[in-house]
Point group: C2
Chain length 189, copies 2
Amino acid sequence: MTSKRRMGPQDSATSNALLDATERVLREEGYAAATSRRIAQEAGVKQQLVYYYFRTMDELLVATFTRRTQRALARLEQDLAVDRPIQALWQHLVSIVDARLVFEFVALANHNEGIRKEVARFVTESRRIEAAAIARQFGEEGRDTGPITPSAVAFLMYCVSLLLRREAATGITEGHDDVLALIDWALKR
Amino acid sequence: MTSKRRMGPQDSATSNALLDATERVLREEGYAAATSRRIAQEAGVKQQLVYYYFRTMDELLVATFTRRTQRALARLEQDLAVDRPIQALWQHLVSIVDARLVFEFVALANHNEGIRKEVARFVTESRRIEAAAIARQFGEEGRDTGPITPSAVAFLMYCVSLLLRREAATGITEGHDDVLALIDWALKR
DNA sequence: GTCTATACACCGATAGAC
DNA sequence: GTCTATCGGTGTATAGAC
């Protein structure tokens, strides 16, 4: 039952332009707008060309996610290879992570099995890298942090940075100053 | 330029059935599936009837959000009117808030101005209620919490509970045990 | 209050020519 | 590698009968 359609190479200028276009449409207009026609228009090609490079729209969405997360993991490891990784992680989270795109993909994961698996894999992998970097700093400073484990800190930093940015973009500021002051205080410990 | 279509009452059995159906579709299938046909089918009525009760699909979406959040605010105030509101708030957050629906609405808020405003209003109002309840308990216990202000605690409890539930539903568990242990420890202070 | 009929645009996807 | 042509289905929304 497989289609007889010809398929193009996985890494070409046009296919990358389609992945770029998909990211832009997801971020600016949401996943409901991520249609083959809209994305093709955004990339400056004909709608049918999308199906030369990707078998289905689903495959294009998953490819967009994996390309971005592979780059993100490399960038994360690079950013954490410094003296004080905990402070570097906070900087990374608030300046590199795109909260709009994250929410779009997480909402997609609610009802798209392919995206769900990739999101789970990426978050798990990121958190391990982050926890390892935090553990390194805890070890060097040689203090007993009790229930404040590296994994718990990784989770907290991730979720606070994500929600802070998402809420700010939504026009919510209630409590943000207080949380930022608390983070600042905690990072100086 | 306004339409001459007749409109039905704002609060009837059928309009409420449509709001219920919209919630179910949003939760189970995502906002892209929240179409007039799909929602009408879910409510057991004809597609065109949606437009008797709601001017546009956008209006139906906003109405679904406001009905739910008005009920949620009432429930929140009720749940916090107890002896130890901080512990009660945590219970409320992990058992009442529907993380799937929250993410769907927040993703919608990314690119829907009507939803964005309502989300901002609701989160701000909730946080004020929560911070007031936390401040009450802090006051009774008469301790100096330093940078750990009521507003900061309200934000932290909200974002941790939301992400914990969302990640668990996505199949992510990395760091969850540690965070739950930390919360448990913090709630006992 | 609910029905039928209908408009018109857009959707994913395929086939085959150039 | 990109084009034209095309399919059946679904989207929002309106008008008017029952």
